[in-house]
Subunit: 367 residues, 4 copies
């Protein structure tokens, strides 16, 4: 058995936005991880795990089929991925961070140090199609594990391996990345916090993680978009912006700053606030286009209903008219129902499967 | 056995837009017909059928379940609907015109003269929900019968009993009407004929049927909207408008008039023509609102793909802004695929079923 | 338009057991009928229909897809099957008797006299696989039409086009015949009538139809098995034999003869009566083997539960041991449930579809 | 956080056949494990794991929903099951051994020593229905993990949480136990080894595990059937007996003993060998009846085809006649196909789901 540091495995393919550091490789985002083609009978991974409140979980596949999923304890240690396999065959192994970048816990990270094995590594080819998924809890796979009655907001109920992003990429044989945060929106969070606006963090590697540890790890550095240009950018946002109209005002405890998306006395949306949201959509599309010059952008919406569809459509329409950029479209995804709901009132595995089918069908028409 | 003229059966419920005449009752539209609750062992219907080219078909249900479907010959004659049933039970019978109002054959009509029976008639209650479906060939049920390879444009391949309108109304326990014409759009037909614009005919009973016979039957009279106000208006149009951009110019043989929706050399839509379409959407929504003051309007699209989604959305958005009317929304329906296609490259029974599920789910949220 | 007598259309393919007479062609059994390949724009069929109580129905397909279904009135008349089709294409048309040979109505027949057309006839190839289905109401398609609450035992609720026999043959691209009678069994009927034993009638064309008319038509003549040898014989019997143990004694009003399958006081089956049933199974298998020397025989059971499975299995086992004939096997079919039930507490379309899938899978392993 | 030894948690429910020892609790069989109802925010389990070749895996559920699955390393250590949950709510946790008793590795065991927690334990009620599943690789869940192309016979591809036994018990809300061994049969193994006959080991706790360690752990002690009497015994055996007719002779390397189930030159089964199998079925049914006096026994077969159905049916029939015991029946389960296959040419998750549906439907009719 040989132990090889990640930096020395040139055949290792890294998934997800991260820094150039490989001593160790740091995993920030949902579905980030590594992939390798390896011979030998056995494979282990050396992880280093930190967190204060929200422990990370991981899942992994062997030859494309889901094998295991477990909670990660603090510390640096070895985890077995397979053993007893035919040593001559080359196995494809993919390690997935099951938990999103956790903006509420500045210490929550998985670092990959090394692999222990008795075989050799072989190159992993890049897929012909690349997709980036930008979203909220739905795209973070919240609610894909756990019984329907579960209400705890904990890592155990997040997963990267049953969600529509994984399923879409698998069906289309695409490489993919996820950029998502539960509860966040285009303009503010579900509870009216303007800091929780996805667009504010899009240009850095992972700047929504707070604190010095993220600084040290490089998460706040600019992201080099030239290294991985997606063909398709899927934006699945708006659900939390909609919710904020029905939530109390946000008050920043330190600054006293306040914010609230308002409804009129008759229950309709306040026009100024809708306008603010729509401009946020427009601005985000400009940002996305700047960073991804050739990508087709698909704004998706609907897995938790379509009550906020018109403001999203207005934003897209405004951007298209202003920019003369026809490379953005809108796609409604299937609504969750009693049969397809998961835990925490979120879309479950069946709803994600249905959403992936619609998205796959649509992307096939584009490419 | 008793023969009772339609005019004398006060319990008979008439479905679909028609005139006040009951000697006989004339059926114009897809899914128009009659419904009765009747005891006795046997029931026959006396029809009078006319056509030049396109013969009508009908289907019927007994107690809500589809029993028969047949081509109708010219002439006035009796057709048996059931016999040998338990005479004491009350049966619900619904007669459906399977064929759309056929604008290409000014003689194509079904008239209902009388019922022959050995029981009594009982009132048919009105449903609590009313839906009007406005559309093109999809809403006329084209392609719901016939093998996939069929290409003939004939009545045999149209049906009112497998389409999303029927399925949606059945699931929601709603009364419904259909206003549809194969090949037509909001602004022009699939082949650029501006006469084939659904909005031009919406205010009359059935003014798109040509000729003197329609005049005589009263199809060109104004429709009295006050008699049947829908709660929901579903508009499923745009597919043919989109197609017209790829079709040759329309030339009116008599007047020499010409019309064509144009594309730019780079393949994009000509802005002026798109603007004309969008204004047609806006105008139609005003018309619909005028005629149906309290209805929620749902513009549906997508059963044959969503390439023309943005212009539809623009039109809806313009109307909402101008009118301050929030009672219109947009709903994407499931796209047809290899599994769900019917004959004549049209959505098949599975696609209509999937569309009905999405529409039912959405309408349930509204009402 | 030309009218051609059936006897003069040498390309016409006749389905189902019948006599050699073609002036007219008489249809006895469920799914019997004719098939033709024909060019031209239009096709009509001239039928002659008789009945006292139970009127026949028919269905037909064009190019393999179900087009129409209707009740047949008494008399001799023309029925249109298609019109307006592309005259140059050859259409495959198949006419199906929807109703079983009706042993309760000695006058219930469809006769086919002629076809009216404006094209030419072309040969219909024989399929490579031939299947005979022998059964009771399930195989007669009882309950495949009509709402779940229907209880009338009338022709309207029988159909040959949604049943597992049709679906199995279609999926396997096989020619098939149906020999079935509602309420009948291997040894007696559901209500203990020993005349209602399918095996007693197997060797004649259609000897279970009573009366002089059947005599005249030739139904009581020996069937010439050499003309159509099946590769597979499916026997779906036993459900009514099982039911008879729970039904009152049968008393023949004329002869005073009595019969009853008995249960012991503890609810178990009377051994002598079970033995009688089992011997009837054995005898029937000998008969089937004699008539169909090369066929594989599949005894199917289960669409209405499997409470009587062991006696059937005993019978099969006894036959196999005695005869050393391994060409018979047993296949359990899917049980009906709340979702898959049709009218009259019979298996509905979904249950028949599931049964066909199991049978197709099994036959594919045999051939 | 408190650490409580298993022996001190009187509310802990133990699943699966095992000894009375609780210091520690030893897990022998597939799906054996423990279940607890516990409050508090966090739960850990202390395991002690041993093996030479085949490492055990485990899965666990929280509130009935599958949460994690992982390979178990050698040694004694703590594994976290959940953390961060609402401490006031009572969580139901079930730990499942994913791997069968591994007759090829006399050291492969999981022992449960203690639980670490910050809440209290509450009683776990017994279910009203109890089912024992006896089987081979299918019942051991072989092939339920892993890509279709996998061929390695390793623990990673076995699972207790996707198999028909788990699904059946879950749907029926039943307690259940599994007694199974991959490759084994009623009379001999797939490769003609007569030691691999399930009936030989049925009366002891787990006597098929070899070696001194099993002796020490008590696996060879008689099983006390009085403590847990099933209502239903499902026997899913015969697949390997059938296979052995097509495999080479077994030669015992030590004793030189030889055995082979033979086919005749014409491909039919050798009658003597079939008779031996059938008698083994009869004998096993007597044994099962002796141990489970009140249980209904269901012999299931068919997930890998039904080529060997008749010998199984003969055996059941012989037993029923000899014993006058009508408490045994036969049930055919759905056959695997291209869509439902898993890894190692075994039934996959879909096939197990379909099998569970059939079995649930049948058991509901019995109880």
């Amino acid at each position: 058995m040989t132990e090889t540091a990640v930096k020395d495995i040139k055949e290792l393919k890294v998934h997800g936005r991260t820094t150039i550091c490989r001593e160790p490789l740091t995993l920030f985002w949902t579905a980030s991880g590594f992939e390798c083609n390896v011979s030998g009978s056995e494979l282990w991974v050396e992880v280093e795990v930190t967190y204060d409140t929200y422990e990370p979980w991981f899942s992994y596949t062997v030859n494309g089929d889901w094998i295991g999923r477990q909670m990660l304890l603090k510390g640096r240690y070895w985890i077995p991925l397979f053993r007893g396999m035919n040593p001559d065959k080359i196995k494809n192994v993919r390690f997935y961070k099951d938990l999103q970048a956790m903006s509420d816990d500045g210490s929550s990270y998985i670092h990959i140090h090394a692999l222990r094995h008795d075989g050799s590594f072989y190159p992993v080819e890049d897929k012909k199609l690349r997709i980036e998924f930008i979203g909220d809890s739905i795209t973070s796979g919240e609610g894909l594990f756990g019984a329907k009655e579960e209400e705890d907001w904990i890592p155990m109920f997040f997963s990267s391996l049953r969600d529509y992003a994984y399923l879409t990429a698998k069906e289309l044989d695409a490489d993919y990345r996820v950029f998502s945060q539960s509860g966040w929106g285009v303009y503010n969070t579900w509870d009216n916090n303007r800091k929780g606006a996805i667009p504010k963090y899009y240009k850095e590697i992972c700047s929504l993680m707070p604190g010095e540890e993220n600084e040290r790890l490089g998460g706040k550095q600019p992201h080099d978009f030239s290294k991985w240009q997606p063909d398709i950018v899927v934006i699945n946002l708006g659900t939390n912006d909609a919710a904020s109209f029905d939530q109390p005002e946000w008050v920043d405890e330190k600054t006293g700053e306040r914010h609230k998306m308002r409804k009129n006395p008759d229950g309709s949306y306040c026009e100024d606030d809708i306008a603010a949201f729509e401009h946020a959509v427009v601005d985000f599309l400009y940002t996305l286009r700047e960073c991804n010059p050739k990508a087709h952008m698909i704004w998706c919406y609907g897995m938790l209903g379509i009550p906020f569809q018109m403001p999203i459509l207005e934003g897209i329409s405004m951007y298209r008219k202003e920019s003369k950029d026809s490379g953005v479209s809108y796609l409604q995804l299937p609504n969750v129902n009693d049969m397809s709901v998961g835990s925490r009132q979120h879309p479950g595995a069946l709803c994600h499967k249905q959403a992936a089918e619609v998205l796959v069908d649509y992307i096939r028409q584009l490419v």
